[in-house]
């Protein structure tokens, strides 16, 4: 597949009187054509800085970026017409109506104004199109932002937290919309904190922490890479739980005794081996479930942001920052 977005070695340092802060520290990312690509990272990890840099709003200090095969920011004006984007919270001039806001953008971008009602309908704002934006809720502004990004019929759609402020119905509609857009051939880069959504929608992901890529690949690959291979075993009532654990440990498995009648077993060649070993000793199971890692687990593990009881994690605390002093240098 052809990459529509490539970033390599991207650097951005913010300097202030308090010192320098590396927002991006040699970040790399590739998004293939036709994919829905999830872009994940904890707060302050550099997601929005990456997107703003890509879209010409922030000047990088180093690195190489291409969009739709053209180097940016040098050739950004040539490809901007094919890239729809919303960055962070939706921002519009509040005294204009949604219709006016979009028609002004259409004029500025040389897009047919006739498309405005079409995209407003698509995001569910058709009936509120003539109301001033300042009367909109956050979710409605978010819908308007998505409409503005879709106005140019983009080849690549970049959405930063598009589900912010949306109600559950809105989130589901957004998910469907992403799928439909992807099915129509559009490439979507989706930054979000709703990891379950990302797992449902995305074909591939990049995870960033402290301005660096810490993993990337298809969702299945990333999950598989971090699959512990653990299996939850529930024994029949009145079974000798310790005996079962001993049998499995003798076979080389790591066994954790959980609640009564339940074990977590790792490092076995497969569930069949567990059933066979225990059945040979006339111990029978009533449940055998592979424990699959989900994206949230992988995210928390890789970014080092798993909550620890009694500790209030600060936004700059994460796995990479702790080891590499990425912030506040």
């Amino acid at each position: 597949m052809t990459p529509v977005l490539e970033i390599s070695g991207l650097r951005k340092t913010y300097r202030s009187r308090k010192g320098a802060r590396n927002a991006l520290d040699g970040f790399d990312m590739v998004v293939e054509a036709g994919q829905v690509h999830g872009f994940l990272g904890p707060n302050g990890s550099g997601k929005t800085t990456t997107l703003r840099t890509l879209l010409g709003l922030i000047q990088p200090d180093g690195g190489h970026m291409t969009l739709l095969g053209r180097e940016v920011p040098r050739h950004l004006p040539e490809v901007a017409g094919r890239v729809g984007a919303i960055v962070e919270s939706p921002q519009f001039f509040g005294r204009f109506t949604a219709e006016t806001t979009l028609s002004l953008l259409a004029d500025a971008g040389g897009v047919d104004r006739g498309r405005v009602p079409e995209v407003l309908d698509l995001v569910g704002l058709r009936d509120r199109a003539k109301e001033k934006v300042k009367t909109y809720s956050l979710g409605m502004k978010q819908r308007l932002a998505v409409a503005s990004a879709l106005l140019k019929k983009p080849t690549l759609l970049i959405l930063d937290e598009p589900a912010n402020g949306l109600d559950p119905g809105g989130i589901r509609e957004m998910r469907t919309l992403m799928r439909d857009l992807s099915a129509s051939g559009m490439t979507v880069l989706l930054s979000s904190h709703i990891l379950a959504e990302i797992q449902l929608i995305c074909d591939s992901v990049t995870i960033i922490s402290a301005g660096r890529r810490i993993t990337a690949g298809s969702v299945a690959e990333v999950l598989a890479r971090h699959d512990s291979g653990a299996v939850r075993v529930r024994l029949e009532p009145d079974t000798d739980q310790e005996e079962a654990a001993r049998i499995l440990r003798e076979a080389g498995a790591q066994v954790t005794v959980e609640t009564a009648g339940q074990l977590t077993v790792r490092d076995v060649t497969g569930p069949a081996q567990i059933t066979r070993l225990l059945a040979q000793r006339e111990i029978y199971l009533c449940e055998l479930t592979p424990i699959a890692a989900d994206l949230e687990d992988v995210f928390l593990e890789l970014t080092g942001t798993t909550p620890v009881e009694g500790h209030h994690r600060q936004v700059d605390e994460n796995a990479l920052a702790a080891s590499q002093d990425g912030w506040g240098r």
Binding site: L57, Q59, V87, F92, F93, G94, T101, S103, L104, A108
Partner: protein, 336 residues
Amino acid sequence: MSLVRAETRRLFRRRLTSVLLIGVVLVLAAFAAGTFASNQKATPAQVAAAKQEAMRQYQQAAADAGVQKLRCQAAAPGSAEAADFPPNCADIYTPRPSEFDYAWFLPETFDLRHEFPEMIALFALLMAAAAYLIGATFVGAEWHSGAMMNLLLWRPQRLVVLGTKLGVFLGWLAGATVLLGAAWAGTFRLIAEFRGDTGGMTSGVWQSFGLMGLRGLGLVLAAGAIGFALASLGRHTGMALGALIGLTAVQIGVYVLAGFSGLQFPEAYLVPLWGYVWLYQREVLEDWSCDGVTTGGGCMPETFTMTWQMAGVGSAVVLAVVVGAAMWAMRVRDVN
């Protein structure tokens, strides 16, 4: 062209633009109506009566002067009465008929030739104030609301975007100023026709009005550009408004410091004076400190003539610095 069209629509869609333009038109209309109501055209009978009154007052003053001369000549030298008169009785002031203008005795009437320059200045100052505010809010609100960032996502050419915005604003401002200025001149031509005097209106006078009007247009455009540039620099309308307050404080400080340091003509450093000189072509500043320059015991102040060219160069430098800084900031600063 699509960006020009979009920015034109954006400018006129803004409520503040309409409110300020309508406000300016209403103030101008009220002023013109007040001028019309408070003036009247002098009838031949009123002119004759005024001339008669001027002559009567001249004759009265001449008679009084004659009496004073007689008293002077009659006073014995060295007497207390002689002390009230100059040594030479011929030095006693004798009034001349030309010093009694009959116009003083006419009812209030609008003299187009002499009074219209003030109307041009009023128009220019009012338009300049509106231009400053419209320019500042046009770009300031865009930055503050985030609409500028949205626009840059569509047109990632920062200087083109800001330059087009400024160009569209100044273009329409120039058009509106010329249109309103023509209406303003026409209105006062009519007021003079029906409630005043159009005497002495040679082509040279009209040309002079035209040139003053052009300088007024320059003032309006400069005020608009500076308001726009300051708000863009600060990315908020408030920056332009704050700069006005800051300028006032700085001007007071400069004036006071210039006075303390013994600098001559401290008024020359006051920006509002530049505007005045730009419109009225020249202003003579006087230094009354009279350091050893006296004639017959009186003070002969040193003077400095400030011309519209000087004011123009000073203002152009300020304009270039502010607009240049806004463009530079647009080019290099991150949009967060």
